[in-house]
Symmetry: C2
Subunit: 619 residues, 2 copies
């Protein structure tokens, strides 16, 4: 993120006993000059340096090391002097090194003079080498550098790539873009900063799907993911949602509330998409001449045609697909949710994202790849800013502990940013189906505190909608994918969302995935974890009862010292949802979490501070 | 080692849902053809293959993956058939893939016929694809391979690089090479397979060191590491040790006892070495014109001149130094102990060892680099077969557990082979100085069972010599480095060495560093660990009391299942030093180890076997 620093560590060592030095060289991809930062030795031949990143885009960096001959000489000289040895010959050795350096400083008259004076002083018996002399010699010393040999890259993205709060809704259920615009104050008040809309394009009619995934009957609106009709494709807007100007007005109005409108880019076509007529060569054809529809045998999706990314005309296809992103970026869209990126070639994403970022370094891309971990990680490496996760299917305390421990480990955490969704239009988990209000509350608190980025498919979440299409299915009954819905939000749920997002906003520990630690709870239905800022100035403990049916209680053990809390004094645990304040003592404390009042608690620890007055207070 | 297999694992995955395949390609550095081994998927996109190594030297290997289009098609076909779908069009798709493959098989008439028959059968409605058809299609399928892009190397060394037992002695104390030859039967009987001799070259007289590191008085023999005199240098033999023929006789006689004679290569010169006169350009010169002697300020070693590896004449110098190794290899020497390799350039070793192995792939090199871990590891990567370690200074059970856990971890264990020495001519540890006979016994048992390779500086070890030059020093009193010694071996110590080496010889678990596991002992003075063969056919438990002054007792907990022992039956623990047999039950068993009888116990577990007779016996 801009404003952050990049920490670089390297093993730097040489044969022999010479003093060595090392540096990190870095530059922004658009800068021509490298900047050098000296590295500092830690222990066991490990060296470290940091450099600041101030601009969006790629930074290049590498490491180099060299033997510090003058440093070696001066270190040995000091030992000889301390041992009372005659150092006359040694001083002559040093004087010659200084003279050689002076040759290399021939442009800088002042430094040449200083080096000349140093050589003279050494020959006259001066055996204390001060820091000024060392610095001067470092500048002109012969530097026979050993380069690391590889240039590494770090991508700097907007802060929202790290910390974001998403709200998904089908604009057509609200009416059109103008109606959505009227909802913005409410969405902003709840604390969301990304408004994500499923595809807004014309919808095909061939094989159109109707309510509950049955063939459509006349008048049914169809799935927004069946993109394209006679009226247009990926760069067009569904007539009933409004005009391009309406859309741009919505984007602008959202921006005023600090909300980004996120578009859903699904690189696939309905059979009626203009591409299918204008560019049949971009699709696979079956021996009978028809275009190959999407399938996951034995399932068939005859309303969807996938692109053939390996067509002989792939160059034209890829350029056109890139132009979809570019087109919307030019209309002011900075956030894209990409549908099923893992079914398109890695090489396409690597190229397309780099090209898009070259023109629009501010874009943020969320990968919707619910697939194997290594494929998800690969997409992150190729340039996706964030990714959906398995969070929705991790329900027990132990599953959640395991999964977030895996995501928090290096190297995954260096490039993979999870975005946690308790529900989506495709995912209504059994837990939400059966757990009632406490399940919705618990999953919201978990998503919002385990992840610096999270999102909800909002209207049904607020409405506590838990009815599946059929037993054993994760599809919603009367899914909004195929029909309009009129949602009735639950006031209590809206209030909780508002409070939890405010807590995120006020506590920087919750705005990063770095400082997550799990803690031992003496009850396997309780999940306890802290998030902290690096300096421990903000320490947030969350305790969630994952059992939506019973009150659970137990002792929680905290590593007070690691959290920067003095172990021998009481400290205040301020529960931020209810506002209650508790005085805790020592590492073991009792918690009781009832799903009937609130299945999760979010504590901020306040440290006791000495004041100039006689009483104590907490900050 | 020859006869072993190399296991290769890789993450192999592709975008989309296609079936994929992967292979390892390998060849010996002298072979021209690559051999292909199919990889097998494990879980989570991890694939594995193994290949055998049969020749000494480097093997090259790499990985490649590709999409298996026909495999994907046949997998999907099976699903369609199972779902009762009409697959006429699909079979046509398959027939066309077969015809395309047939084009690529145009040389092989029989396969062309088989492919033609397959295409016909598909068009006729055959929807079961058998393994023969899949194999045929794999042979001729279009294989759009994604190569890993890097070729990796694995060095195959003689078995002795993994499992060796070293005995160090100063030949001059025995008399000459002929006298050493007479000692061979005794050394072989004790179970050693490497006889390591400190430098055997002429010794300089300038600044010669005498007894206890004082300036020599006339008649004192000098340190063997002050190499070179008027009589010759690194390719000459000290006159009093014998002739080159005497030496070759010793090497030959040792070979008959399966003992390798190891030479000590110390790349440094006495001031009297012929190189100093013939090649003064190979040394650093001080401003007063003298050659720079070795030093570690404020310590000076005026009897030693280091080479200047960075001299302008480095090519000639490096070639000459390589020729020292080559010369002795041509006299039949296969094992070299290299003195202080870390004070010479990494680049020199990388080049010199590769050149030496090109002509003599059978050589084994032991690195004597007591320096920082990363430098030791680097030397191993550059080609050293084995390395000295910090073992001598790890005394408590916890220190030993920690150190060997570190060495046993990947990647270190993949390239770094420790050789454990409880003593050397430079190292008489405080533990041996103060612990008496139990200390010598305990350290021998530890070295011989923790390490597949270990060695002792034999004569003083057998004599239980523990007197330091002065309090706080690790130097021997009257060190053999500077004077002749007449050692009186202790019969009990000799017997223990003989028994322990026989145990190593009879138990393959002790001949590798791979199967080491530490176990919980309820007494911090007891160190308990097992070594096992991969198939658990050989399971050795060693328990050492590291306290040389008191009897220690406690319960040891073993993970029986991991060791292949049935937990619900008693099993036999056969103590191999004493020959005692115990019947143990379950994972927790009592041990008592007295330093006054023997401070270590080595158990081999015997499993109970059902026989055709009525009684049970153990194997």
């Amino acid at each position: 993120m801009t404003g952050e620093t990049v920490t670089v560590e390297a093993d730097v060592f040489a044969d022999g006993h010479d003093a060595i030095a090392a540096a990190v060289l870095f530059r922004h991809e658009r800068a021509r000059q490298w900047t050098t930062v000296a590295m500092t030795p830690l222990v066991n031949d490990r060296w470290r340096a940091e450099f600041p990143v101030t601009d969006l885009g790629r930074y290049l960096y590498t490491v180099e090391g060299w033997v510090d001959h003058f440093g070696t000489w001066s270190r040995q000289l000091a030992k000889r002097v301390a041992a009372g040895q005659d150092v006359k010959v040694e001083l002559e050795v040093g004087a010659r090194m200084v003279e050689a350096a002076s040759q290399r400083a021939n442009g800088a008259a002042r430094d040449v003079n200083r080096l000349g004076a140093l050589a003279t002083a050494l020959r006259a018996g001066k055996s204390e080498i001060d820091d000024g002399a060392l610095a001067l010699m470092r500048r002109y010393a012969e530097r026979d550098v050993t380069p690391y040999g590889r240039t590494l890259e770090v991508l700097v993205e907007p802060v929202k790539a790290r910390y974001s709060t998403w709200y998904e809704m089908f604009p057509r259920s609200a009416g059109n873009f103008k109606d959505v615009q009227k909802l913005l104050p409410k969405i902003a008040e709840m604390g969301f900063d990304v408004l994500y809309l499923p595809p807004i394009h014309p919808i095909g009619t061939t094989h159109r799907k109707g309510a509950n995934n049955r063939p459509a009957t006349p008048g049914e609106p169809g799935s927004p993911w069946a993109i394209g009709s006679e009226e247009g494709g990926h760069k067009s807007i569904h007539r009933e949602l409004g005009t391009l100007d309406d859309f741009k007005n919505l984007v602008r109005a959202a921006g005023e509330q600090k909300i980004d409108v996120a578009l859903d880019i699904a690189l696939q076509c309905s059979p009626d998409h203009p591409y299918t007529r204008e560019h049949p060569e971009w699709f696979k054809h079956r021996p009978d001449g028809s275009i190959q529809y999407a399938e996951n045998p034995p399932k068939k999706y005859e309303d969807i045609y996938p692109f053939d990314f390996e067509t002989d005309h792939w160059r034209e296809l890829w350029l056109e697909l890139l132009s979809i992103f570019t087109y919307w970026a030019e209309q002011g869209v900075r956030v894209f949710r990409v549908d099923n990126p893992h079914t398109k070639p890695f090489a396409f994403w690597e190229w397309a994202i780099a090209e898009l970022r070259r023109a629009h370094p501010e874009v943020l891309l969320l990968s919707e790849a619910f697939t194997r971990p290594k494929v998800m990680y690969r997409l992150a490496k190729l340039g996706f800013s964030q990714s959906y996760t398995y969070f929705a299917w991790r329900h027990t305390a132990f599953e959640l502990y395991q999964y977030f421990t895996e995501l928090g480990q290096s190297p995954v955490r260096e490039f993979f940013r999870p975005n946690l969704w308790p529900n989506t239009p495709d995912i209504l988990t059994e837990y939400l189906q059966t757990g009632g209000r406490p399940a919705f509350q618990a999953r919201l608190i978990l998503a919002a505190t385990l992840g610096a980025s999270y999102g909800i498919y909002g209207p049904p979440y607020e409405a506590l909608e838990g009815r599946p299409r059929e037993h054993g299915s994760e599809e919603y009954l009367d899914s909004e994918k195929y029909q309009l819905r009129d949602w009735q939000p639950d006031d209590g749920m809206r209030e909780l969302i508002t409070i939890v997002n405010r807590i995120r906003h006020e506590n920087p520990a919750l705005q990063s995935d770095r400082g997550l630690r799990f803690h031992f709870a003496e009850n396997e239905q309780l999940l306890a974890y802290t998030k902290t800022t690096p300096d421990n100035s903000n320490v947030i403990l969350t305790v969630v009862n994952v059992d939506p049916h019973h009150t659970q209680r137990g002792m929680i053990t905290l590593p007070l010292e690691e959290l920067g809390i003095e172990g021998d004094r009481s400290y205040q645990a301020h529960e931020l949802i209810s506002g209650a304040r508790y005085l805790w003592n020592g590492p073991r404390n009792y918690v009781e979490v009832s799903p009937f009042s609130m299945p999760g608690q979010i504590f901020r620890f306040r440290r006791r501070v000495r004041s100039e007055h006689d009483f104590e207070y907490f900050v």
